[in-house]
Amino acid sequence: MPLSSATPRNKMEARELTLRYGSKVAIKQVSLAIPEHKVTALIGPSGCGKSTFLRSLNRMNDLIPGANHDGSVFLDGRSIHDRSLDVVDLRRRVGMVFQKSNPFPKSIFENVAYGLRVGGLKDKAKLAARVEKSLRGAALWDEVKDRLEESALGLSGGQQQRLCIARALAIEPEVLLMDEPASALDPIATAKIEELIHELKATYTIAIVTHNMQQAARVSDRTAFFYMGELVECGPTEQIFTNPHEKRTEDYVTGKFG
């Protein structure tokens, strides 16, 4: 398939990744590339392993007792399971936004500053500047600039989710993983998040899990279709939605099941 003149580099690659919870296989031998400065959408019915795959990209699955894996994931060509790569460093480079917005019960400012503080940044002026930059980056600054000291739990659902994005952006990761970031939001808040994703891909590499196929079609450059723990098909979003090679993909994107 012809690619645009500057072939995008693969920021992350999963190679033959199998992940089990105990003995239950959640994803089977998935090999998938996440190209740099592109949005890769992971779609598929519930329980197909797309969220598990996303969470394995920054090793969040390590937290689940009994989770184990074969194969590996590479970040800039280095295995993220290698002993020489500390998981804390990995997570600073591969940030994550969760399905349900989960701001800390702290002030708006402290939420965004948290990642910077644990990263060792103490200088108050620098902290304030980075917080502002991140909030602007998440298109939230104008709405919260006068109430930075108020609790983040007082924000609306859409604002909370953008705060979580701002919090993830603050530590300037290279990759941003988003696990159904708009599934709990109303259409207006969703539109804002999608707009934001468009802007962010200039700076970040993004992988997004979504249930919403229109959303995948709107925001992503590439789409990967997961079914029953397997990667069925992946390719440019337009091709997946208009001319899929696999019957299962076609059935899913046309709404015959799912």
Binding site: V88, F98, G154
Partner: protein
């Protein structure tokens, strides 16, 4: 303005119909509901009434200090709270000697005794309980946690007389050998004995508060590149602050009111001093030790009830302060949302 009539007609909404009488079945159901609600209310109020009656009884007996002339003479408030001339030619002093030719009824030595034992026990039990709970909730492997929690809860079930006996026989000798206390039984021994009793309380309540912190907070923190320790210290602990405060208040209530351990291990000498190595007599142990021999209706009798009122007031005030503080913390955590 909308024409309501037109809106209703346009949607083909029916005009209101007069309701028929309540069916007998529905009436019976409603009556039954009401009867059950009344019963539950009555039971609840019985419990509250019992508590209020206890309080009224204790306060009534203590009131003799005001109403009874002999008691007013012997145990006036100035005698209870201000330094008194104990012996000619000696400086004024605080002394608790309620049974004596000239009764000396200063509350100050008892306050100091309770303060010292409670302070020692809280200083030991709060960090132990909180860090133990933090370990169990955040760092212990699942198997260990499943053993740890029931074990510590079992410790809460040990009768205080057994803890007191242990403090009296084992800890007292060990601490004296180690630190060279002049009095074998003192505030440190009693305080540590009390700590044995309140660590499980603080541990259990704190552990519950920590496990109630949503997993999403931990995930968010770890995903931002925080270590498990940073997550526990900066996210989980603050989010559980109201519960941890409640744990400390509960522990404090137990420490200030606990009688048997203090009675056995404190030495029961009403001494005014700042030295933790001196024997002490606490408010609660004083009631327990003296109530058996007191003449009913005497000033001494009223004094012991007054001590009960004081104990009640201390816990009440502390609970209130803690309540206010908890509300503030929750307000700060939740903001306008909560």
């Amino acid at each position: 303005m909308l024409d309501r009539q037109a809106v209703m007609q346009e949607q083909d909404l029916a005009p209101p119909v007069a309701l028929p009488m309540l069916s007998p079945a529905a009436r019976r159901r409603q009556l039954k509901e009401k009867a059950i609600a009344a019963l539950i209310t009555a039971v609840a109020f019985t419990g509250i009434a019992a508590l209020v009656l206890i309080l009224v009884f204790v306060a009534k007996e203590a009131l003799l200090l005001v109403t009874d002339t002999a008691a007013r003479e012997e145990a006036s408030f100035s005698k209870m709270f201000l330094p008194q001339l104990v012996r000619k030619g000696k400086p004024l002093a605080y002394m608790w000697q309620p049974v004596s030719g000239v009764p000396k009824v200063s509350m100050i030595p008892l306050f100091i005794g309770t303060l010292k034992t409670t302070a020692v026990s809280m200083l030991v039990a709060v960090p132990l309980g909180i860090f133990g709970a933090l370990f169990a909730a955040e760092f212990a492997p699942r198997r260990l946690r499943e053993v740890l929690k029931p074990t510590i809860e079992l410790l809460a079930g040990i009768p205080s007389v057994v803890l007191g006996f242990f403090a009296l026989m084992v800890m007292a000798s060990f601490l004296q050998d180690t630190f060279g206390f002049t009095s074998r039984l003192n505030a440190v021994v009693a305080g540590l004995g009390l700590a044995l009793a309140i660590v499980p309380v603080i541990f259990t309540v704190t552990e519950d508060a920590l496990t109630a912190v949503p997993r999403s907070y931990r995930e968010a923190s770890l995903a931002l590149g925080a270590t498990p320790w940073e997550t526990a210290w900066k996210v989980v602990l603050p989010a559980a602050a109201p519960g941890i405060l409640a744990a400390c208040v509960l522990g404090f209530g137990r420490a200030i009111g606990e009688t048997m351990i203090v009675l056995m291990a404190s030495g029961n000498a009403a001494i005014v001093s700042a030295n933790l190595g001196d024997s002490v007599r606490s408010l609660s142990a004083t009631i327990a030790a003296e109530m058996g021999e007191v003449v009913v209706g005497s000033p001494h009798y009223a004094l012991l009830f007054f001590i009960g009122v004081e104990l009640f007031l201390f816990t009440f005030i502390l609970n209130m302060l803690a309540g206010v503080w908890t509300k503030k913390v929750i307000q700060r955590l939740k903001g306008g949302a909560g």
